[in-house]
């Protein structure tokens, strides 16, 4: 049953991706409007799929890569939809939605595996820990994309070769402000995610901090974003430098998110999470 929702979600995301790509080429507002509609429909189906997954598993359905990627994709779009309320940059969708759809595609190619849910995954703190961490990741993904868009637009203006992107991308000021807002919100969520995580660890393992690779890399990621925010607020960084650093931070975040779970041993690794 839930696989139907997954496939429909993926289908709608792919259609929305095509729509958003057509939008950036054609600059036709109607195409943008309908792409948003389709995306939203896909997002609702995605939400249902995740809810069903939670219900069936009895725990947050992010215990393997398949589930993680699909949930990550959902949080990116959730962040996108929320930020869109304030910023209303349709062309942002032309960058975000393909990225999200791509993650869903990868998720769809991973075969379904049986998961043994250990009792600690029924903890009250786990959904909170997972939701805030993932949403933080989702918002950081938007910051990353805003940073890339900023660099493209800045390059166009600085090099004085105003190409196809010049008219399509929003102003530097808006992109910079989007980047800043996304990083601030993302930072708050990541912080909450780490706190709830350590509370949970205290319950499950008896200590708040155990130098687990995931914990260490999360801290590194957190410190990077903290440094970026500090530079923005105290040293008046903005524009190019901030965009570059938010891109750098995001690569570290991706490593923390996926790399650590694969390459390093620890209780966050998918092997350990799946309980096989």
């Amino acid at each position: 049953m839930d696989i139907v929702f997954f496939k429909l979600t993926l289908l709608l995301y792919l259609i929305a991706t095509a729509g958003f790509l057509l939008f950036i080429i054609k600059k036709d507002k109607k195409v943008g409007y309908w792409s948003h509609r389709i995306l939203f429909a896909g997002f609702i189906l995605n939400s249902i799929y995740l809810a069903l997954g939670y219900y069936k598993l009895g725990a947050v359905p992010v215990l393997n890569l398949k589930g993680s990627l699909s949930f990550f994709s959902w949080t990116i779009l959730a962040a996108y939809i929320v930020l869109q309320v304030k910023f209303r940059i349709t062309v942002l969708g032309s960058f975000v939605v393909p990225f999200s759809a791509f993650l869903m595609m990868i998720s769809s190619t991973i075969p379904i595996s049986a998961i043994t849910v250990r009792p600690i995954f029924k903890s009250f703190w786990l959904p909170l820990h997972v939701a805030t961490s993932f949403l933080g990741d989702g918002i950081f993904a938007i910051a990353f994309i805003a940073g890339v868009m900023y660099l493209i637009q800045e390059h166009q203006i600085k090099s004085k070769r105003l190409g196809a992107f010049y008219s399509r991308l929003p102003s530097l000021n808006i992109l910079d402000s989007l980047n800043y807002h996304a990083i601030s919100y993302g930072f708050v969520l990541l912080t909450i995610g780490m706190i709830t995580g350590s509370i949970m660890a205290q319950g499950a393992h008896g200590s708040y901090w155990r130098w687990d690779p995931k914990e260490v890399w999360s801290l590194i990621t957190w410190l990077c974003y903290a440094a970026l925010l500090h530079q923005r607020m105290a040293a008046g960084w903005r524009g190019r430098r901030s965009a570059l650093m938010s891109i750098g931070c995001f690569f570290i975040l991706i490593f923390t998110f996926i790399g650590v779970n694969f390459l390093m041993e620890g209780y966050h690794s998918f092997k350990s999470l799946e309980g096989n």
């Binding site: 600059k27 203006i157 004085k160 105003l162 008219s167 102003s171 530097l172 000021n173 960084w237």
Partner: protein, 430 residues
């Protein structure tokens, strides 16, 4: 057979001295409309008069006479001799007239292709025509097609997309840097025509304040008054760089007046808020290296010229796309125009009813298999006479309208009421 004709002159065919003699304005447009109404051979008409063109778009049954009378009329109004007028006027018939008005509305016939004002002017002309009730079924539809085509071309092509003047290109760049120009501070260093023009564009975008400085202070004061800004002395530039967002330089100084180290220092004080230099001076007033500083953007006159040139050639490319859209629309409209004839409309109406009758008859008879041949015949006759009786009045009504001015209107309504597609009779011409 009714014809659409467009008669007029524009910036390509007539010099401004002639155009202004013919041009109609608010002061005499009512008079002009009434005079043209007096020409009996002209049925529907619309008069468009802008600084670049004068056009009279009309429909007529008697083409030759109508044209003669209108040329006579134009010659009378303008005082230009008929022979001279004849050389500058163009006259387009039917398809060509349709194409011409589509191109005018879409700004393909404008002096600066893609300039947006023309559509508003065409709309005004149409409004005047409706106020004078001089436009009816054909021109109403033609104008509505013109408007929607122009809109479609503007959204689907880049024909009005990018700036084709230097000051406008500068303002556009400002918008891409700051987003909204509202509340931004402008510093004008030196005065010159182009700098003033750019400043005026910026003011139109509701920038907060304009500061003006010049080597001769009195000139700065003069300009500041002009823009309701503030004059400052040349020595204050350093301080003002901390506050300003957009700086337009156009002094005749042989040395740069804005240096790399100066701007570097400023940016620290500004906490890296973006700063945009528009350097219109030759030789340049801003050291080119300043563009390398983060969050600082420098455009000199050559950069801006380069952008404008690219934009102009882009527009030309887009115009080709637009012409193709015009072609499509001309074909569609001509098709519709052809249907505005009594005979094909009546035939289409009868065909449609006959088709419906046949289909329904087949359905009914197939479920009533045990009818005798006589009964069958009876049902068939019954359906035939019902359709005939129903069509009787509409056909009679349409025939009676032949030769009346309201004919086209009723033909159009009949077609829409019964949903008679223009293509129908092409498939089965009778």
């Amino acid at each position: 057979m009714i014809k659409i004709v467009d008669m007029g002159m524009n910036h390509k065919t007539a010099p401004v001295e002639l155009r202004e003699l013919v041009a109609f304005g608010r002061h005499n447009i009512d008079e002009v409309m009434n005079s043209i109404r007096g020409i009996k051979t002209v049925k529907e008409f619309i008069v468009l008069s802008t600084c670049n063109r004068v056009e009279i778009l009309f429909t007529t049954d008697m083409e030759k006479e109508a044209k003669e009378s209108l040329i006579e009329f134009l010659s009378h109004v303008s005082g230009i001799k008929r022979e001279k007028l004849g050389q500058t006027l163009y006259i387009y018939d039917n398809q060509e007239a349709i194409r011409h008005i589509f191109r005018v509305g879409a700004s393909l016939d404008s002096m600066i292709v893609g300039e947006p004002q023309i559509l508003g002017q065409v709309k005004d002309a149409y409004r005047i025509a409706t106020e004078h009730k001089s436009s009816s079924a054909i021109l109403n539809r033609l104008m509505h097609r013109t408007f929607s085509l122009a809109k479609k071309i503007r959204t689907e092509t880049d024909i009005s997309g990018s700036a084709v003047s230097i000051s406008f290109a500068a303002v556009e760049l400002g918008k891409k840097i700051f987003g909204d120009l509202q509340g931004k501070k402008v510093l004008l260093i030196g005065a010159g025509e182009m700098a003033e023009l750019a400043a005026r564009y910026l003011l139109n975008n509701r920038t907060a304040q304009i500061l003006v400085t010049n080597r001769t202070f009195s000139r700065a004061v003069e300009l500041a008054d002009h823009f309701r800004g503030k004059a400052i002395s040349f020595d204050e530039i350093d301080d003002q760089l901390l506050e300003a967002d957009i700086v337009i330089t156009s002094t005749a100084s042989p040395e740069p007046i804005i240096s790399l180290s100066q701007v570097k220092k400023t940016m620290r004080g500004r906490k890296n808020r973006p700063l945009f230099f528009i350097d219109i001076a030759v030789p340049r007033n801003v050291e080119p290296k300043v563009n390398g500083i983060e969050n600082v953007f420098v455009y000199d006159i050559d950069d801006l010229r380069g952008i404008v040139e690219i934009n102009i050639s882009k527009r030309k490319g887009e115009a080709v796309k637009a012409e193709r859209m015009v072609d499509e629309e001309v074909i569609k409209f001509s098709k519709w125009l052809k249907t505005l004839d009594i005979v094909p409309t009546i035939v289409a109406l009868q065909d449609k009813c006959e088709k419906i009758r046949q289909i329904e008859l087949k359905k009914t008879l197939s479920s009533l298999e045990d009818l005798t041949p006589e009964q069958r015949k009876g049902v068939e006759d019954l359906t035939t006479s019902i359709t005939k009786k129903i069509l009787n009045d509409p056909i009679f009504f349409l025939k009676r309208k032949e030769g009346r001015t309201s004919r086209n209107l009723y033909l159009d309504v009949a077609r829409r009421l019964f949903h008679l597609e223009p293509n129908n009779e092409e498939k089965n011409p009778k």
